[in-house]
Amino acid sequence: MAELSKDELLEIYECMQLIRTFEDRVSGLFAEGKLPGFVHLYAGEEAIAVGVCSHLTDDDFITSTHRGHGHCIAKGVEINPMMAELYGKETGSCKGKGGSMHIADVDKGMMGANGIVGGGGPLACGSGLTAKVKGTDQVTICFFGDGASEQGTMHEAMNLAKIWKLPVVFVCENNGFAESTPVGYHCSAKDISDRATAYNMPGFTVDGTDFFAVHEAAGEAIARARQGEGPSLVECKGFRYYGHFEGDAKAYYTEEMVADFKKRDPIGKFRQGVLDRNLVSEAELDKIDAQAKQTIEDAVKFAEESAYPALEECLTDVYVAYA
């Protein structure tokens, strides 16, 4: 924590709080019936997206998942178009064509949330290959869940990244459940990072609710990738507050688990950590909380006041040129 400046710490807190506020608000909007479609919320996993993406610039790339709002915000995607995208409005990041599960932003190196579990692994390798061929120092992060770790695509991707020594970091967000199925059942390994041994790459498991642990492990992996030393696998163990999707009855959560989540809250932990060390003041953090609320309310207003896309938009963006 020592190497982070006060401004950086405040930025990190702001980013995590923006994600949390966004997700809590989206949960409410979904319950009110204001959002068409399904949403998968990231609340509880903020330390992972922010711990990783705080090492990246707009020139670096990430691939994301169906639970992608946190990755988008941490990678710098603007909040207003994100919220508008969830409403399916023409001012959305993808002009309303994608929705929650498919937010992408070329300018920010956000290669897309992805409705297909395990869809991002090979894409991350392709992005890493480009950096290698072009000789840039761009890094690609592949976020994937514990569920995706059982898809063949993820195994193919990790093998490929290693044989080609690609600047890719595989960040496994192990929130304990593949939809409703517990990791202890669906995964053969004790830790998912153990599989790194099979690909002959460095593998680590860190506490995904501890920003500083994620930040440190990701920082080392990203530095190796940038220096041409190839891929790593970082497993971040955490939890999600919400169900797999909004509307999920969460029958697989016990009361004890939920009570434990609250004790492990990544934002609470970060807040307490920086306050205990007198690195920032409570007033500064409270101000950020209030600003985050305002930012999200503004985004909701922006989205609600935006128009739906014109019907002709159904037929556009299919080809660059039709011949």
């Binding site: 068409p36 479609g37 399916g88 023409e90 409705g115 939809e179 409703s180 199925t181 159904c314």
Partner: protein, 327 residues
């Protein structure tokens, strides 16, 4: 008889077949403890246990591959792909293994699996929760493909599919799950594969469709009835093999064919239907074979306005039928 919806019909068919035949097992993501994301297998794990209702990792190739291997060794697996949009990792297993094993073993092995997959739009699922992928599988001889539109057929076709000795891909149009109800007999029955149903008799044109679009088509036919256009609506029910006799008998009677499906137009099932009609009933035709389909765009867009623009509707179908009838 009892009034049930499509999802209940599917659950009843699974339950009855499992009770009747201990070789029947279910594999899929979240199918066990929570009973599937659409509740199609609700209560079956509690009743039949771990060995027969099997929660799977998120790994579709493994779900279908394991089903195929189990079928080759004497079980009757029903694999659930949570959304048809997720079927593609299993495409190789379905098309290269399941469809071909009987042929390449010269009849030595057969592969009695059912792959259930919820398909279609209309529930704001956007790109990866709305696809209609049936045409890919209709291009693979060795498979059978069914797509029920209502609870009676859903139950009867699923029972027939489970008892069938060949691999059956069973597409459930999820927009019908809780919107379509029927009186369904409590006694055992099957709806045979390969047999279409004439849902409405008519003189002026033949409307060929399946799945959710049966309901939009029937609505369109009612609208046109008031304009003295008499539409015959055929629910194909089985897409591979097609019931050529019912299709051709109808087209020879009406001389006009309108084809409706949600999937996009190019290379869709409508193209095959049009080709069959041209080849077999050309001299009976008195108008262009016409298709009302989803547009040729890569997937269902998310915005509600765009989803509505994508989906064929009773109004769009009625417009096309009106034009064709007047031709």
């Amino acid at each position: 008889m009892s009034k049930i919806n499509v999802i209940q019909a599917i659950r009843d068919a699974l339950n009855e077949e499992m009770a009747a035949d201990e070789r029947v097992i279910i594999l899929g993501e979240d199918v066990g403890r929570i009973g599937g994301v659409f509740r199609a297998t609700d209560g079956l794990w509690q009743k039949y246990g771990d060995n027969r209702v099997i929660d799977m990792p998120i790994a579709e190739a493994a779900i279908v591959g394991a089903a195929i291997g189990a079928a080759l060794n004497g079980l009757r697996p029903v694999a659930e792909i949570q959304f048809a949009d997720y079927i593609h990792p299993a495409f190789d297993q379905i098309v290269n293994e399941a469809a071909k094993i009987r042929y390449r073993s010269a009849g030595g092995f057969h592969c009695p699996i059912v792959v259930r997959a919820p398909a279609g739009g209309g529930i704001h699922g956007a790109l990866y929760h709305s696809q209609s992928v049936e045409a890919y599988f209709c291009h693979a001889p060795g498979l059978k493909v069914v797509a029920p539109s209502n609870p009676y057929d859903a139950k009867g076709l699923l029972k027939a599919a489970i008892r069938n000795p060949d691999p059956v891909i069973y597409f459930e149009f999820k927009a019908t799950y809780r919107t379509v109800e029927d009186d369904v007999p409590e006694d055992d029955y099957v709806v045979p594969l390969g047999v279409a149903a004439v849902k409405r008799q008519g003189r002026d044109l033949t409307l060929l469709t399946y799945g959710m679009m049966v309901h939009e088509s029937l609505q369109a036919a009612e609208m046109l009835d008031k304009e003295n256009v008499d539409v015959e609506v055929i629910d194909l029910r089985t897409l591979l093999p097609l019931d050529r006799e019912t299709i051709l008998t109808s087209v020879r009677k009406t001389s006009k064919a309108l084809i409706v499906h949600e999937a996009n137009k190019t290379g869709g099932l409508g193209a095959e239907l049009a080709a069959i009609i041209s080849e077999e009933a050309f001299e009976y035709l008195d108008g262009p074979i016409t298709r009302v389909t989803g547009p040729d765009v890569p997937a269902m867009p998310f915005a509600p306005t765009l989803e509505a623009a994508f989906m064929p509707s009773s109004a769009k179908i009625a417009d096309a039928a009106r034009k064709l009838a007047a031709y």
